[in-house]
């Protein structure tokens, strides 16, 4: 019984990680850009939502809705002004630039908001739970998981059923050929990063409502997100969800054995998958 419970909690935790990872997966899949600042961008968005709640007195949901277009703009600007300049065959420049951005964001937040732990107040939802007969699950984790699935459904719909998605796929396959067909890859990249930042805002909402956060926690979220993306395979959003679930279940199982092993178990699951399948479980795009 306890094992079923652990498993379910792990799957729900995986939903959070998939949400962290979905934006990363999108950007990585389309332009092979490794954004080392992704975790810090999630934390940044969480502070943005917090400002909406504390200063403007909005509810967390409304605040996140307000933050989404702002983050889209930020992502668009970031890609246009900075990241588009360093994209190319060499992976070093984008890696170093986003690393610089990560450190800049972390310390900027530290300067602006101090190192104190913060939390986005979620009201009655915080402790609410739902009895599903076999197991009891928290409403918040369940909501996170449902949001992750919804986000991935929406992204997949954009990807496979809209003209924008066709441009995404074309640019992902071959930016030069896409350019010949009248697509401006840099413009497409900017929109993709903007959309990724909207997903980041959603991830930030749950990050902030479920647990305390402070400016330093970004890199750890980045690692979980990346593990989910890589386990899932390049360019597959459903694979990213599967990857998130694998990391989540491994962590909960590890924690059930010994609380100190939680994070370790997640990493070891990642290393094991990489040993068996270096390109991930469901690779779609060609590296």
């Amino acid at each position: 019984m306890i094992w079923i419970d652990t498993l379910v909690q792990g799957i729900l935790l995986g939903g959070l990680y998939a949400l962290f990872a979905a934006g990363l997966s999108l950007v990585f899949g389309i332009m092979r850009l490794v954004n080392l600042a992704h975790g810090d961008l999630i934390v940044f968005a969480a502070y943005l939502i917090l400002v909406g709640v504390q200063v403007l007195g909005l509810s967390p949901w409304v605040s996140a809705l307000v933050a989404m277009p702002l983050m889209f703009g930020f992502g668009w600007l970031l890609q246009t002004v900075v990241l588009n300049r360093v994209l190319g065959k060499d992976i070093l420049p984008p890696l170093l630039v986003t690393f610089g951005l990560s450190v800049t964001l972390q310390n900027g937040l530290l300067e602006g908001f101090s190192a104190d732990s913060q939390r986005i107040p979620a009201g009655t939802l915080e402790g609410a739970s739902l009895d599903l007969g076999l197991v009891t699950v928290g409403v918040m984790p369940l909501l996170t998981f449902v949001s992750a699935v919804a986000a991935i459904l929406a992204l997949n719909w954009v990807f496979y059923h809209t003209p924008l998605g066709r441009s995404f796929r074309a640019t992902s396959d071959d930016p030069v050929a896409a350019g010949l067909m009248g697509i401006e890859p840099k413009r497409i990249f900017a929109i993709a990063t903007g959309i990724a930042m909207v997903v980041v805002t959603l991830a930030a909402l749950y990050l902030g409502m479920r647990a305390n956060f402070d400016p330093s926690i970004g890199p750890a979220r980045l690692i979980y997100a990346f593990e989910a993306v890589i386990i899932g395979g390049l360019g597959s959003l459903w694979g990213t969800l599967a990857g998130g679930i694998i990391v989540g279940v491994a962590q909960t199982l590890g924690a059930a054995v010994n609380p100190e092993w939680q994070i370790l178990a997640g990493h070891i699951a990642f290393l094991a998958v990489m040993l068996l399948k270096p390109r991930g479980l469901f690779p779609r795009a060609v590296d």
């Binding site: 080392l36 300049r85 992976i91 951005l101 100190e260 370790l264 290393l271 990489m274």
Partner: protein
């Protein structure tokens, strides 16, 4: 008579200047204050780490974000040698290099299966795993860490002689010893890398960096080269880590495996100075140190400035400060380029 040479006048002048600098460096503890010795220790160890990362990323094309694994394991192996085996800390430093080497073998086996970005993240995850495992090592303080025992730090080999020589106290003598060792390490690392780049191996390395397929087609074993570079860099990084924590005499998993201190700073130093050159990290570490001194009182502004500076340099001068100087002046202080010289060629000019 034609000759293939890497020797230039600037190169010879640099060698002489560095020889003088090293002699001055060795004698410095006779005049310098303790805080200056400590600052120099910091500069020299960061420079060593930067040269090693530069060897990996700038020459070997291996962009690792997990070098803190080797700093940390080296430091912990040194502590284990002192605390568990009762060795003298100085003799325990090679143990750090050995431990890093041993960790690097499975790391390379795993990480070399991954390409590009996957490699970077893979090395980072391995560093995290190592940190979490070491935090379980209760004999060395677990997650909270531990200090070198008093009796071990008091009787470090050579400190008595240094105390007598310079008339300083125990702790200052330990700093001087650590500084000398750091000087030895940085000279060995820089000279070693320089030698490597001028050797056959260096030529092969440059060939692989510029075009893997072309290099392989003329018989360069790219896989073997990557292994060699990764293992050498890891072992030397482990030695540096052991030395750094011999000087601080206190260790914890978070400090020893800090991605900011041992990888972020190091990457910034290399990028700001100029990646893929030996001059770059030297220039970079000086800029890094100056920024640190100027912005020391402004807390997180310091790191923010470093981050922004790295972004700006990557955007507008991807070859770094030394790249700017070098392309304008044509100066190469550590020439590695092979040139054909001879009476006729020189005469034609």
């Amino acid at each position: 008579m034609y000759r293939l040479t890497t020797r230039t006048r600037a190169g010879t002048a640099t060698a002489v200047a560095i020889l003088i600098l090293v002699v001055v460096g060795v004698m410095l503890p006779a005049f310098a204050s303790r805080s200056m010795i400590q600052d120099l220790f910091f500069i020299l160890t960061m420079l060593t780490l930067a040269q090693l990362w530069n060897l990996l990323a700038g020459y070997g094309g291996l962009v690792s974000v997990g070098q803190q694994a080797f700093v940390g394991i080296g430091a912990y192996a040194m502590f284990a040698g002192v605390i568990l085996l009762g060795w003298d800390p100085v003799w325990a430093i090679p143990l750090g290099g050995l431990a890093a080497f041993l960790l690097a073998v499975p790391t390379a086996f795993f990480a070399f299966r991954l390409q590009g970005a996957y490699f970077a993240i893979g090395t980072w995850v391995i560093a995290e795993v190592t940190r979490l495992l070491v935090a379980q090592w209760k004999a060395l303080g677990g997650g909270t860490g531990t200090s070198l025992p008093r009796e071990a730090t008091r009787n470090i080999i050579g400190t008595d002689a240094i105390q007598a020589l310079f008339g300083v106290r125990d702790a200052a003598a330990r700093d001087i010893l650590a500084y000398w060792l750091a000087l030895v390490l940085v000279v060995l690392a820089t000279a070693g890398i320089y030698w490597l780049l001028r050797s056959r191996l260096g030529l092969a390395l440059a060939a692989v960096r510029d075009n893997v397929d072309a290099a392989q087609s003329v018989g360069v074993d790219a896989g073997k080269l990557k292994w060699a570079v990764f293992l050498i860099a890891a072992a030397a990084t482990g030695l540096t880590g052991a030395l750094i924590f011999m000087q601080t005499a206190r260790i914890s998993p978070d400090a020893a495996f800090a991605v900011t201190d041992w990888t972020a700073y190091v990457i910034f130093i290399v990028v700001i100075g100029g990646i893929g050159t030996i001059e770059g990290p030297i220039l970079g570490v000086l800029v890094f140190y100056m920024l640190r001194s100027v912005l020391a009182d402004y807390g997180s502004w310091y790191l923010m400035t470093l981050g922004v500076l790295a972004i700006v340099i990557m955007l507008f001068a991807p070859t770094g400060l030394w790249g700017l100087i070098s392309t304008r002046s044509g100066l190469h202080l550590f020439p590695v380029r092979r040139r054909l010289t001879g009476a006729k060629i020189e005469g034609e000019n």
